[in-house]
Point group: none
Chain length 231, copies 2
Amino acid sequence: MPDPEPSTVLVVDDDPQIARALRINLSARGYHVVTAHDGTAALKAVAEIRPDVVVLDLGLPDIDGVDVIGGLRGWTQVPIIVLSARGDSTDKVHALDAGADDYVTKPFGMDELLARLRAAVRRSGVSAAEAEAVVETRTFTIDLAAKRVRRDGAEVHLTKTEWRLMEILVRNQGRLVTQKQLLHEVWGPTYDSESHYLRVYVAQLRRKLEPEPSRPRHLLTEPGMGYRFEC
Amino acid sequence: MPDPEPSTVLVVDDDPQIARALRINLSARGYHVVTAHDGTAALKAVAEIRPDVVVLDLGLPDIDGVDVIGGLRGWTQVPIIVLSARGDSTDKVHALDAGADDYVTKPFGMDELLARLRAAVRRSGVSAAEAEAVVETRTFTIDLAAKRVRRDGAEVHLTKTEWRLMEILVRNQGRLVTQKQLLHEVWGPTYDSESHYLRVYVAQLRRKLEPEPSRPRHLLTEPGMGYRFEC
DNA sequence: TAGGTCCTTGACGCGGCCCTGAGGACTGTT
DNA sequence: AACAGTCCTCAGGGCCGCGTCAAGGACCTA
């Protein structure tokens, strides 16, 4: 097994001290760290960089932390670990019920936070990895873990967007994925009806992967609803 | 949608007081509670009753708590919430790294534990719930999650409108669905009396799915009222 | 700054799906 | 037996959604 690429952590905290401390510690442990200093930036950052886990301080200047959780849970399952100075029981309950995965009160031990981070990443990784990492069709092979596609032995290069789209379809193989879901997961939660994007990119994938792009056998259209990947 | 069956919680604690307190509180919240008083019993209980979540005290008389976690993680992904009197950072790290999902130190607030329990069940339920969406009849099979219909092994293609209609009827299987409700949910709230639409589309569904379309056995008409799906 | 890749956006033809209307069957009522 | 109401069936026309091609522009790299 090759060394897995480092997990990306989005750290959301308006206190530069804490953000810096987290950045240093997490980076030292091999994580790829991105920081945001308010809720708006956090929501945007999640849509753009797709972190593997979010560490979220509740005391943000612009948006209430619980609303940030809600905004994320509307379209993504990314694990959220809440940091908060308030150890109040009702705060914890609200945050957890809004969709947070864990809740750590400040001051916190870095060891503990790291352990909880590992637990969160491990959990979400298990389900993601469960779907076999390699999917084969008659004409091409997809390695989800390595992010590689081969066709007749030769490697086929997919762009970032093409890959994201392909990955979602493959992870849901056999299932119909709605246009809205695809748009949300590839382009972000603000894209609802730009189905033209899908047409363009599905066409590109078909051109690269299907034996007869005009008669797709694996990337199937369900008119009015979405797309479906079949082996 | 019918009421989901209650989640089963395995409470593992050798202190009868705490075990009792948990049983009372969890039962009051609608959980199905099973208790075990030592590690051996816990391991056996998980294998036998397959709980949806385990609440595990670390101070067990026979087996070290971390080993219990390890014993479970060897074969199951059931969420484990650790309870412990020791708030020591290294204990937390060991338990979490052994595979625990969460760690709560005694004394704990019952509200918080319940919220963490909900979070754990929610997480694991997302993936498990989707699998249970297949409805079978004598002649055809409907997979609600994948949005696909099979008849005698072969795939039957439904259009968007056909599928919407079918889905509503299937989700209300056995129950009568009124024409108005069907029109509202498929064509929108402004459609009240266009029952001709329904006739056309129900006929199409019957033609595609019923063995004898003129003598429907599953898509039944209730004259003057609506339609009903029967397995 | 130049070159390349990639994302976005527009225009256009085509096929399939949704709607619609007409005719007929069935049932219950007067 | 005539009639009204509801339902089933079939077929055609309009239109929306899909696929395709191509060009503009953003971004990165050298």
